[in-house]
Amino acid sequence: MINNDKKPDFHPFEGESLITLPFLILFPAAIALILLLVPGDSWRRLVVQAGALIIGIASFYLLFITPGAGQEFFPVTVEWVTTLMFIAEMIIAVFLIYLGIKHRKYLAIFLVVAQAALLLFFESTGSHGAHVPDLFIDQLSLIMALIIGIIGSLICVYALGYMATFHQQHPDVKDRRRTFFFLVFIFLSSMFGLVFSNYLPWVFFFWELTTLCSFLLIGYSGTGEAINNSFLALNMNLLGGIAFAGALIYLAIISPGGNLLAISTLIQSGHAVALVPAVLIAFAGITKSALMPFSAWLVGAMVAPTPVSALLHSSTMVKAGVYIIVRLSPVMTGTMEGLIIALVGGFTFLLASAIAISQSNAKKVLAYSTIANLGLIVACAGVGTYKLVWAAIMLIIFHAIAKSLLFLCVGTVEHRIGSRDIEDMTGLIVRMPRIGVMMLVGIAGMFLAPFGMLISKWAAIEAFIDAPFGLLFVAILAFGGSITVFFWSKWMGKIISVCPVAELVENRISREKWIVLSLLTAMTVFVCLAFPVISSHLVEPFVLSVYGQTARLSQDNIIIMAMMLFLLMIMPFSLLWFRKEKNIVPPYMAGRPATPDLHFLGSMGVQRQVGLANYYLEDVFGERRLFMAGTALCFGLILLMGTLTAGVAL
């Protein structure tokens, strides 16, 4: 299966990942426990910063010890680990049932009980006793680990300052910051566990941990809306969890030895055995990455404090969903089920992008854009040709960086101007120049040439043309891509409008926030410059080892894009030349007498001030209508997939 004509690189530290992988899983958990115990703010600050730094360095260190191609396995012979996980799962179930009773969410209780029952049944088959569970690392795990370790820990550092301000501004919310940081670090730990585990029951354990953490973090503020939305997220993710547990049981039944419970054997075992569990797990991935019809939970999750949103949208949670789908995409390539999953992704991309046009709440726009991009990633992975998998992984990388930057910028702006509405961000470039520029970079990173997301979309268009039923996806990308241009550009327009009544409010932003934001901005630009290297050292070896061939952009295009990026970076400097412009006049007001702050004499002698608002085109791109359409369409597709899969299974 593995057809590799590349020589493995020389790696002086080979074997050291044996220590590093468990370290990356256990260390954040240890930090989390310390944070639960540490009382004061200053100690917490120290622990979080030191912990984040060490996690960042350790994940970066992985870059040097990961084999150049193929997978490396580390059997874990400690037997009680699996048992411990099972006990933890049961405790979590009891805890969730308690919360369900407390808040009278009976659907959640039902789902928890159903999942626990499936899990008990799986344990009773006793199939995994024989198999030695193992951890593994390859380029895909490495990429995910870098995203989690670097972006995730940057967000943790940012959260320090944010949460302090949050509690100043919301005195009614009970200060549970100890729990907050505990959960955030457990989240990182479980994400590391998820991407390093080869053994599916372990993946499932970490999967459920991320569900639990996100549930608790979304409900952090404890308001009625937060509780409702957290249970919405819980229910939808539990539904996915049930499908995942179903996949485990299916595998336990067809392979009593437990060999197929390892991802690496599963993806090589062919359609006949692997398709049913792959589809079940992909369904879990669809719920976790909030594709339609499950998109509501991610939109609802914006009630959480902004660092949580940043975490959910960029480096954790939703990325777990797409990670598992990309991982299993070789099983689904060329199957009807894979195509249906891709269609769910494709329609989600198109409709979520369209809904984003009608939204003025910045966090909601970001949420719909995340949903759209996850849809695109799943569309690529579902069709699953080698070129598309390349594009999907590229999308994961670029999206994680730009989206975390944007969320953190919005969070910072919200604390300074007291609103997260895009309409209130008029003239941000004057009021908060540095944040404004960072936001522009983040937005540009999401949709403009020569930035990353566009490169990936472009590669996806080219790859879809040669794929089966690809024309449909090409059309989706052509329309969806241009829709994307609209909502990002008008947001950019709001930021750069030089409004005459703006005052500078960019003070009192803590130094650690600046450091995090600057690093993320630099990374957004850096990954565009370095993307040929990222492609050739990380993405291509993975695609090559799984598919036997790989995609890359042509040399000419890379050079041209580097030139474009260079040009783009020097253009702002022309402002130095134009800055000395002397003849500044007020904008054209059709000859009406107007004051410098744009008050003018309107009809009937009324003084009015100019107010400019973006188009939202509600009646064409309204949320209600399109969401209904998307839900119906994707729900139908998933039902169809379920029927097909049931047909295979029985």
Binding site: T426, G427, I429, L448, A449, L454, W458, I461, E462, I465, L471, V474, A475, L477, A478, F479, G481, S482, I483, V485, F486, S489, K490, M492, G493, K494, I496, S497, V498, C499, P500, S554, D556, N557, I560, M561, M564, L567, L568, M571, P572, S574, L575, F578, R579, E581, N583, I584, V585, P586, P587, Y588, M589, A590, L598, V610, L612, N614, Y615, V620
Partner: protein
């Protein structure tokens, strides 16, 4: 191969061709309306005069956006004529256009603001069709590179008649012709004054005008691609297409944004996608 010479040729010659086309356009339009019309070289005189005017601005940042607009339009056009990747050319043009839109936003004026919003609607109206046109060319010639499409020797128009019609439709938007001249117009005054360009003046407006010439030459070059196997037919096709656009401009009144968006998407879907679907089906059934 990528040809630097062609790129340089474009950079030098395009403003002259673009200005000349604008002059012919105005002359023919005048004749259609029963007027004599300005001299053929009037556009050059107009732009020349703009550069003699004193520069006034609403905000200095307008300069950055308009200059970037010109620079990226020139760069994208040069990439096209050099024979570069068609999709990259399209994305580069989108980037260039974004700068025009941002320039309009930056002045915080009611007229240019609405112009900017409308310009964005125009972008989402025409962009899908242009991408589909590029995809169609790939399906016929198996390459996205303009130099390979040019050298393929295939009568692309015979494979892509629907795509070509769809392209003509969005060409009306790109050339800022009625009924799709929502965001700014060549005609003297519209309900939002000059839309996007309301707050540009003097040399700045001159740069925007020159960028528009460059872009028009690129668009004519795109028509050429459909007929590239026979240069003579190609030039005739460009002339006919342009005359058709002038005729449309003079026979339709300005539409609404909804009309623009719906009609161009429907045409892109009906003409472009159906055409590509047939090609896709044929290539699957009848291997070449």
């Amino acid at each position: 191969m990528i040809s630097i010479t062609n790129a340089l040729l474009f950079i030098v010659a395009a403003p002259f061709i673009g200005g000349l086309v604008a002059g012919i356009d105005r002359k023919i339009t005048a004749r259609m309306q029963g007027r004599v019309g300005p001299p053929l070289l009037q556009p050059f005189a107009d732009v020349g005069k703009l550069f003699e005017k004193k520069q006034i601005v609403v905000t200095p940042s307008q300069h950055v956006y308009t200059l970037s607009y010109l620079v990226f339009i020139v760069a994208s056009g040069a990439l096209f004529f050099a024979g570069g990747d068609l999709l990259l050319v399209i994305f580069a043009f989108t980037l260039a256009h974004l700068f025009l839109v941002l320039g309009a936003y930056s002045s915080y004026s009611p007229y240019s603001f609405i112009g900017a919003e409308r310009e964005l609607i125009q972008i989402i109206a025409y962009e899908p069709m242009i991408i589909l046109a590029a995809v169609g060319m790939y399906m016929v010639t198996k390459s996205f590179f303009v130099w390979e499409i040019m050298g393929s020797g295939l009568p692309i128009i015979l494979y892509l008649p629907g795509v070509f019609l769809g392209f003509l439709m969005v060409l009306t938007i790109k050339l800022r012709k009625s009924p799709f001249d929502l965001s700014t117009s060549h005609h003297a005054h519209q309900e939002i004054v000059k839309g996007v360009t309301t707050d540009f003046s003097g040399p700045m407006l001159g740069r925007v005008e020159i960028a528009h010439w460059y872009e028009n030459v690129f668009l004519l070059g795109f028509i050429y691609l459909f007929f590239a196997w026979n240069p003579l037919i190609a030039i005739v096709a460009i002339i006919v297409a342009y005359l058709l656009e002038i005729l449309i401009d003079n026979t339709f009144s300005r539409g609404t944004w909804k009309f623009t968006l719906k009609s161009s998407w429907i045409i892109a879907g009906m003409m472009g996608l159906v055409n590509l679907g047939v090609l896709y089906y044929l290539s699957a059934v009848v291997p070449a």
